[in-house]
């Protein structure tokens, strides 16, 4: 099982959870598993069939763009962090 951190802006789509457990051998499969159970997430994460460029995904603290993208293998007990930009400062 892999832990997936859900950012505050996406928690409404997953029933308020701060993190979810998911299955999958790659980052893409892990995210697919989450999206299958919470379909409202799909348009928030994907655009034009791929992961939106406004969403950063980290595995083991590294941006998956610098690893193997969605095909990056995931070991059990690793944490996937979904991270959209936040502008708030006031």
């Amino acid at each position: 099982m892999t832990v997936v951190r859900i950012p505050p802006t996406l928690r409404a789509e997953v029933g308020g959870a701060r993190e979810l457990q998911a299955h999958g051998g790659t980052v893409g499969e892990v995210i697919d598993d989450v999206v299958e159970r919470h379909p409202a997430l799909r348009p928030q994460l994907f655009q034009n069939g791929g992961l939106g460029s406004f969403v950063n995904v980290y595995l083991g603290g590294e941006d998956i763009r610098t690893l193997g993208g969605l095909d990056t293998p995931v070991d059990a007990n690793e944490t996937v962090i979904l991270l959209p930009a936040m502008a708030g400062g006031a």
Binding site: P8, R18, A85, M86, A87, G88, A90
Partner: protein, 442 residues
């Protein structure tokens, strides 16, 4: 029993001495000699040999091994006339320093020869008292405190993040704080914006912040900019010269504008952002690490990026995130420690956890990459409001008007690059688009 004169004469036979001219030659040739000043503090304050280290004669034995651990380093010891330093040279030899000479005619003769001297700027007695806890830290000390007093930090926003950061920077003695904010103090600000107060309701935030800061520390000069940061005014403001920008803006257009301007002006940005219970902090150092666009090439669509005015924020959260920003700013000024450049810190107030992810410079970044495609200010509101589906790829965002945008994106791409320092064709960033709704940067 020997008299002082006899003792001095005896010591002079046991040490090596050099003339003032020889000492000057050593200094000029940078031969590795360390000049050790053993006079009284007030003599040092009135001027000393450039690059010399100071340890009063009284604490010489106690301190010298910490200051010069390598006992083979050549030392030139001096006082005013060469007598006190003669005794100092002898004791250094006894402590195992193998290459010690006494400046025979002392600092008085150095000055008579017209050789260069350094006059240290001394803190006033009031400053010594105010900053005493800094002066006790070896990493800050008197030199570091002078650096802080000389430093100029520009704060974008006098809101949630700007409040704690400006207060801590002011308390630390950062000498000049520029504050950019067009807003006035509103009741809904006071749950977290601690630089303001109930009696300041309706007052411009930059004025309210200035009053609070100057009451806290009269050493600090506040430069208020009661305006929104825009493509038109950003060069004017940044040209006034800033060591660090502390970004506490409340909207994406300003974030991207601050980023591009900071890269072009080569000023590090201490970035913080907050929403509900979560905060993000990092440092963008142009030429060293990634920039904001390397981290977030594109802003999220508006529906995914509610502001604090829309989604709320725990009052203490900006206190924590803004304090981390102040910490990073002080470290950059002092040139101490490891900055957050290349690391994004994620704070979760609900779980009280701090996570860290790596941020790498993107060689294809349109602004700080190896072949930048955005070299002038763009229309940042347009850039941030374009829906992701119709938004061009980052590499296209700076496309010149001469190059037609993809047909599907026509009308939604950012308008052409704005000439730096000239009026843009599009609307300036405005809080009404997606800010705090308060008409300010923060």
């Amino acid at each position: 029993m020997a008299t002082y004169r006899e003792l001095l004469a005896q010591v002079k036979t046991e040490i090596d001495e050099i003339s003032t001219i020889e000492a000057q030659e050593r200094l000029e040739s940078s031969d590795g000699s360390i000049f050790v000043d053993v006079r009284e503090p007030d003599e040092w304050d009135e001027g000393h040999i450039p690059g010399a280290i100071y340890t009063g004669r009284g604490r010489l034995e106690q301190r010298i091994e910490g200051l010069v651990p390598d006992k083979s380093r050549p030392l030139v010891v001096y006082c005013s006339a060469g007598n006190r330093s003669a005794f100092a040279a002898k004791v250094l030899g006894e402590m195992g320093y193998s290459d010690v000479v006494n400046l025979a005619a002392g600092f008085s003769d150095w000055k008579r020869n017209g050789f260069e001297i350094t006059i240290p700027r001394a803190l006033s007695p009031e400053q010594r008292a105010r900053y005493s806890r800094h002066l006790l830290i070896p990493e800050v000390g008197e030199d570091g405190q002078q650096r802080l007093l000389d430093a100029r930090v520009l704060l974008i926003g006098a809101g949630g993040l700007g409040s704690p950061s400006s207060l801590y920077l002011a308390a630390a003695g950062v000498g000049t704080l520029g504050i950019v904010d067009a807003d006035v103090v509103d009741e809904s600000n006071l749950q977290r914006q601690i630089v303001h107060s109930t009696e300041r309701l309706g007052e411009p935030k930059v004025e309210s912040a200035r009053r609070t800061i100057e009451a806290l520390n009269p050493d600090v000069r506040v430069v208020p900019y009661r305006e929104r940061l825009t493509s038109e005014n950003v060069d004017r403001i940044l040209d006034e010269g800033w060591d660090v920008i502390l970004d506490g803006a409340d909207n994406f257009p300003t974030r991207y504008l601050v980023n591009d301007a900071s890269v072009w002006h080569d000023i590090p940005v201490v970035h913080g952002s907050i929403f509900r219970f979560e905060g993000q902090v990092t440092v963008f150092s142009p030429g060293v690490g990634p920039c904001y666009r390397c981290l977030f090439p594109q802003p999220p669509p508006p529906e995914l990026a509610p502001s604090c005015a829309e989604g709320g924020v725990l009052g203490v959260l900006p206190g924590i995130v803004g304090s981390i920003q102040a910490n990073e700013t002080l470290k950059l000024i002092l040139d101490r420690g490891d900055s957050l450049a290349g690391r994004l810190l994620l704070f979760d107030a609900l779980g009280t956890t701090l996570d860290e992810v790596t941020v790498r410079r993107d060689p294809d970044c349109p602004v700080c990459g190896d072949h930048p495609t955005i070299t002038e200010y763009i229309d940042y509101v347009e850039f941030c409001n374009a829906s992701p589906a119709s938004r061009p790829e980052p590499a296209l965002a700076g496309r010149s008007p001469a190059s037609p945008p993809p047909a599907a994106a026509a009308g939604t791409v950012p308008s052409g690059p704005v000439q730096r320092g000239t009026v843009p064709s599009g609307p300036a960033p405005s809080a009404t688009t997606r800010g705090d709704g308060e008409g300010a940067n923060a």
